[in-house]
């Protein structure tokens, strides 16, 4: 089976090397073809949105990029080097962090604990090595610094249990966790699906700040206005293939929907 890679409609204007690149990914589930030779490029400091109808392969594509699924064929390059993710932990260790729509934070734990959940830091010396004591004060301090860097001014007190926060703030905690600790890429899977209008706005603002700090973002969303508001480029999935990659400047929302549904071709 030879697969012709549809050329990206919009190549990177500044001729940079992609941070993350997927080449001709194929993933089948029995006889169902989830991905039929999809390629994708993510460049430094950009927000790349992925849109597509249900069953177009958005989720499968993202799952392959974040290690939740292993593609049957094709390769994924991170900083130009091939990577093979077997489980989400592999992708995380390589610097790809994912935020899910389900507000995946631990409600009873405080903000700092949530930021460091699963990667707690220990106190130096014998207290940490023998007694396994966590560096609670240090983690709180660094959590605060991290939140300030991301411009999340609404979360001053990192000792507040997350359940006392609004949905938007909880998602902000999840995004901050993904962006912290030197991650290379942040993947946001429908981050505003569970949120109201105002809270969605807060999260989108955070996405922009994330990009401004130099972390490229992949944003999966159903919400066209949001996508056109925040994305630098838009990858359109259709029937397991990449139909096109456009920019909010080159195409209108109507064009995007037309490409998504197959009414128009690029």
């Amino acid at each position: 089976m030879t697969l012709t890679d549809p050329e990206p409609t919009v190549s990177d204007p500044r001729g940079r090397k992609p941070v993350l690149e997927a080449k001709r990914l194929v993933k089948t589930f029995g006889r169902v073809v989830g991905l039929d030779g999809v390629s994708l490029e993510l460049y430094p400091g950009e927000v790349l949105a992925i849109i597509g109808d249900n069953g177009a392969g958005k989720s499968t594509l993202v799952k392959c990029l974040t290690g939740a699924e292993v593609p049957d064929e094709g390769e994924i390059l991170l900083d130009g080097k091939p990577v093979h993710f077997r489980r989400p932990q592999d992708a995380r260790e390589a610097g790809i962090e994912t935020v899910y729509q389900t507000l995946a934070v631990s409600p009873a734990l405080d903000v700092a604990s949530n930021l460091y959940l699963g990667r707690e830091e220990r106190r130096p010396g014998i207290l940490g090595s023998v007694f396994r004591m966590m560096d609670t004060a240090g983690m709180r301090k660094r959590a605060k610094e991290e939140l300030i860097t991301l411009g999340i001014s609404t979360l001053q007190d990192v000792t507040v249990p997350v359940e006392n926060l609004s949905g938007g703030q909880r998602q902000a905690v999840a995004v901050a966790r993904a962006a912290a600790f030197g991650s290379k890429i942040v993947v946001l899977d429908e981050p505003t699906a569970a949120l109201g209008v105002r809270e969605s706005g807060q999260v989108l603002e955070l996405v922009r700040k994330l990009r401004d700090t130099g972390i490229p973002v992949i944003l999966i969303s159903h919400n066209m206005p949001q996508v056109f508001d925040v994305a630098d480029r838009i990858h359109i999935q259709r029937l397991g293939k990449r139909a096109a990659t456009i920019t909010p400047q080159s195409h209108s929302m109507t064009d995007a929907v037309a490409i998504m549904t197959g009414a128009a071709q690029v």
Binding site: Y100, S106, L109, L117, T154, Q156, D157, E163, G168
Partner: protein
């Protein structure tokens, strides 16, 4: 100078919730501050789950002490601590399991099995006492590991798993011991040493009670200051969020049941000392007593919320109520009645506290 002025102004704004419009959190704090006194009580209980049992025990001690001065007699206080030792120890294991949103109905049965193995290997098989204790520890660990494997591998609800292992451990105990008790005299001194006492200010304290307290201190330290402790809470709070944060939920659950097994073995040793015997029929209600202690201690049956010290308070409350009501001349039935009411009140308070969550 201007900065110095700005700070108190901001602090003022935060307290009254009037200014700092950009800060969402201050709006949240303002909302909480505006609530009724009852709301504040709820907020405090939410933050410190052991607060309500602490209040209950102080009130109970004052009331029972004034009803009958004998309550404060040294030998009576000593008796309460001894009566609490076994349930209190097993409540440490029960707290761990309940924090992960599980429940362990087999604690009592596993303890009796471990105690029979300790007693019988030492008294009848001529195994040296330290080795007998070690074999008992292995039995406890194996019992915990069995629960853990069934919960994590077969994905069965902990309630069902431990309901099954409760019967299994009970049957194994009776098969192993031929339904016969082992008396204290036939055992080496080390095995029954947990019942020996020393005197502090006129109150006789058993070594078993000391071991229980040491277990509480160790477990409080682990739960509060180690990553493992935090993961136990996270897994009970929201297992999916914990998994997405990179925590191996199954590994945490497995370790919790194994650690619970080790604590159960310690409980078995304390039980032998307390009864000066090992009986296959001892501790049939201990499982429910530990759950009672944990629940009265403010730990949520839904997991992720509670403290280990609350369980000690819970065990003490049950001990104090039973003792105090007996001293007040009430029938034993009223003790059971009181414990039942305590449980329902404690769980109602937990439900009420949990409503803080939006």
């Amino acid at each position: 100078m201007t900065q110095q002025k700005a700070e108190p102004a901001e602090a003022e704004g935060r307290r009254t919730g009037s200014s700092v419009p950009t800060s969402q959190l201050d709006l949240a704090t303002e909302f909480l501050d505006r609530t009724t006194p009852l709301g504040r009580v709820r907020q405090a209980l939410h933050r410190y789950p052991a607060l309500s049992p602490a209040i209950v025990i102080v009130v109970a001690v004052i009331v029972f002490g004034s009803l009958n001065p004998r309550f404060f007699y040294a030998n009576n206080l000593s008796l309460i601590t001894q009566q609490v030792a076994v349930v209190g120890t097993l409540a440490v294991a029960q707290t761990l399991v309940i924090l992960t949103a599980g429940i362990d109905l087999s604690v009592g049965a596993a303890m009796v099995l471990a105690s029979m193995v300790m007693a019988q290997t030492a008294s009848q098989n001529g195994v040296p006492a330290p080795l007998a204790l070690l074999i008992g520890l292995v039995v406890g660990l194996a019992a915990g590991a069995l629960n853990g494997v069934l919960v994590t591998r077969l994905k069965l609800p902990p309630f069902i798993v431990t309901l099954g292992t409760l019967s299994i451990f009970l049957a194994l105990t009776l098969l192993y011991s031929n339904s016969a008790s082992v008396t204290g005299q036939s055992m080496p001194d080390l095995i029954t040493s947990t019942g020996n006492t020393f005197n502090v200010a006129g109150v006789n304290i058993t070594y078993g009670v000391v071991m229980m307290l040491v277990l509480y201190i160790i477990m409080a330290f682990i739960l509060n200051t180690t990553a493992w402790g935090r993961h136990v809470y996270a897994v009970g709070d929201d297992p999916e969020a914990a998994r997405l944060a990179g925590i191996s939920v199954n590994r945490v659950l497995m370790s919790v049941y194994v650690v619970a097994g080790a604590i159960i073995a310690v409980g078995a040793w304390i039980q032998i000392g307390r009864a000066d015997a090992a009986s296959p029929n001892a501790g049939t209600d201990v499982n429910l007593d530990t759950i009672t202690a944990v629940v009265i201690g403010g730990t949520s049956l839904f997991g992720g919320r509670g403290t280990i010290w609350g369980s000690l308070l819970g065990a003490l409350i049950v001990g104090v109520f039973r003792n105090g009501l007996a001293l007040a001349g009430l029938d034993v039935l009223f003790q059971t009645l009181a414990v039942g009411i305590l449980i329902i009140v404690a769980v109602s308070i937990d439900q009420w506290i949990r409503k803080v969550r939006k």
